[in-house]
């Protein structure tokens, strides 16, 4: 098993309970592991919540994290994947002064080249949205930085696995738990 530091995406299917986020993040805290990004949302199954957490750890570490996460009463199932095993994206928003949009041709080029789009234009500022890989949103941030970014924000990773998660089978096995 690889003991090299690797970026892993941990996907968690869970109940939607107050406090579960705290319980899950405590598992990382206890092991002094930093969370790179964290997203929560609904999943494909009604009433089932999904966490996507990105960490940079070794494979034995990520395995143990997933075991500890899965052990939590309110967690249905947890998986871990390498970048190659998932399709993932992040979204970034960039807020820039409106006058640059018209005065600096370069900005328009950057937006075009990076396949970003303009979400809104107000008299004082405009907002660019870019969805893609980390290095792509980073590149655009570097390009826009000289113009004085008013605000920059990036979402946590959202990701779907290439292999099936088999959640419907797991949901079926729930029924056994409820005998």
């Amino acid at each position: 098993m690889s003991t090299e530091l690797t970026r892993y995406t941990i996907s968690i299917y869970s109940e939607n309970n107050v406090g579960l986020l705290n319980r899950i993040s405590a598992i990382f805290l206890k092991r002094h592991i930093n969370i790179e990004s964290l997203t929560t949302s609904l999943s494909e199954i009604p009433d089932v919540f999904r966490f996507v957490i990105v960490v940079i750890v070794t494979e034995p570490q990520v395995q143990k994290l997933v075991q500890q996460i899965e052990k939590q009463v309110d967690v249905i199932k947890a998986f871990y994947h390498t970048d190659e095993e998932t399709i993932f994206l992040e979204t970034a928003l960039y807020k820039v002064k409106t006058n640059f949009l018209f005065e600096e041709r370069q900005i328009q080029n950057y937006i075009k080249e990076s396949h970003a789009s303009i979400v809104t234009v107000a008299p004082e500022y405009f907002v660019i949205e870019k969805t893609g890989f980390r290095h792509e949103t980073d590149k655009l941030r570097e390009q826009l930085a000289p113009f004085g970014l008013l605000q920059f924000v990036r979402s946590g990773r959202i990701s779907v696995s290439k292999a099936p998660m088999g959640i419907s089978e797991i949901l079926n096995s729930f029924k056994e738990n409820l005998t």
């Binding site: 705290n22 319980r23 143990k64 738990n177």
Partner: protein
Amino acid sequence: MSEKLHISGAEAVIRCLLAEGVDLIYGYPGGAIMPVYDELYKFQDQLNHVLTRHEQGATHAAQGYARTSGKVGVAVATSGPGATNLITGIADAQIDSTPLVCITGQVAAHLLGSDAFQETDIIGISTPVTKWNYQITRAEEIPEIMAKAFYIARSGRPGPVLIDITKDAQFATFDYSYKKCTGVRSYRAVPKLDQAQVEAAAAAINGAKKPLIVWGQGVILGEAEAAFKAFVEKTQIPAVWTILGLSALETDHPLNKGMVGMHGNYAPNLLTQECDVLIAIGMRFDDRVTGRLDAYAKQAKVVHLEIDPAEINKNVHADYPVLANCKESLEALTPLIETKKLDTWMARFDELYAKEYEAVIEKDLKPSKEGLTMGEVMVEINKASKSDAVIVTDVGQHQMVACRYASFVRSKSNVTSGGLGTMGFALPAAIGAKMGAPDRHVVAVIGDGGYQMTIQELGTIFQTGVGVKIVVLNNNFLGMVRQWQQLFFDKRYASTEMTNPDFVTIAKGYHIPAKKVTDREDLAGAVEEMLATEGPYFLEVVVEKEDNVFPMIPTGASLTEIRLN
């Protein structure tokens, strides 16, 4: 149950406890839990509430009760400081897999987050040390959540659950009905036994020439003692125990070869490093058991019978994991195992025992020096109780000595704080242990340091009259720390010497019969008198000040580096 009642949340809490078969709880009142206490008053003929002298005592007492009775222990406290005082006991229960339901009062829901008087985020604080926790803000939630709390606490690998109830939810009235919880959809309490895993494990065990069984508390928690004994006897494989596994197999059993770990026996530790197949049953490879992990049993294939999937490969790689309640896996495994003749292997245990006896045990149990040893006190307790007492220990030298030398004929007889090593555990835990096993002798063996951490529970003993026998082994030191200072810090005894009060006078202040022994000739008589006395009894034994516990595996050393002196 089709009970339909319109009652308050507070009354519902009591009715839920009764519905779960609870007749005894430990706790301490205060503002935010007063509605529940008011109902307790009304139900006092059905539900006995023991007022401990500190909330930590309530959790430890509930733990002691759970450990000897096999039932869920219940502790109740108010919000804020009451709730935070529970935490040490909850953390102890979490790491030692003890089923507890802790109920705390909370400020009214509309005050949450306002820094109200005695508001504390007990859900946040208790999250890392509970199996599950939940804050109730509406009375209607109480029956379902209480049912879930008991189910989660006792099922699978047991553990503590904390339920925090806002004061307004205790006052509000609603239509109450109770349904026991039989499952939680996201939680699989016990993994389903996989016959293929059993067969693979059986093949590995059958191929072994020098097999070794290491068992832990899983055998006791899984009520697998009979299945375990049948397995051991069929296989004829030597079996050794972790501190929490102690008493699952009687001490005198010819295949019981003693304790593993830092102060465990010589043969079990050294032969862990020689066995070819290590059969771990309901244990979790704590570092106090394994010593240096990358040198632990490297030559052996590991079979691991375990209920908690998160324990597989956590510390030690399992070549043959078997996931299930160990009662079930043992019953599946035993018929597949061939009986072994392991005479040469067995002889190694005897050989190494002889070495340990000569270097350590004889001096501990039959000392020739003047000062009393902790070991000889244990011998007298064994004799006077016919090895059938529940022994409750605190943390330190006396704990290691007690676990090494106490002898047992019955399971659920050893109550100690293993994983957390909580000083102050024994006195309150003994109260619960006695209430959980009222027909048995319960002897708490405690150091002079740990005794003073929860000494106020003498008040609980006096008030309830619970027949706990307290033995304080007084070396006037925080002995275990002093031992480390002697061995690893050139005898710089920083803050480990204790100037102690007159313990006998203190016990007498609580009207507990008490005696102090300083001479060997008085020891046996005093222990006999203690056990013959009805009700509680306090016995102080002044022991040698600077005795050390051996064998010892220094922290970070491999088991092979075990020292006899």
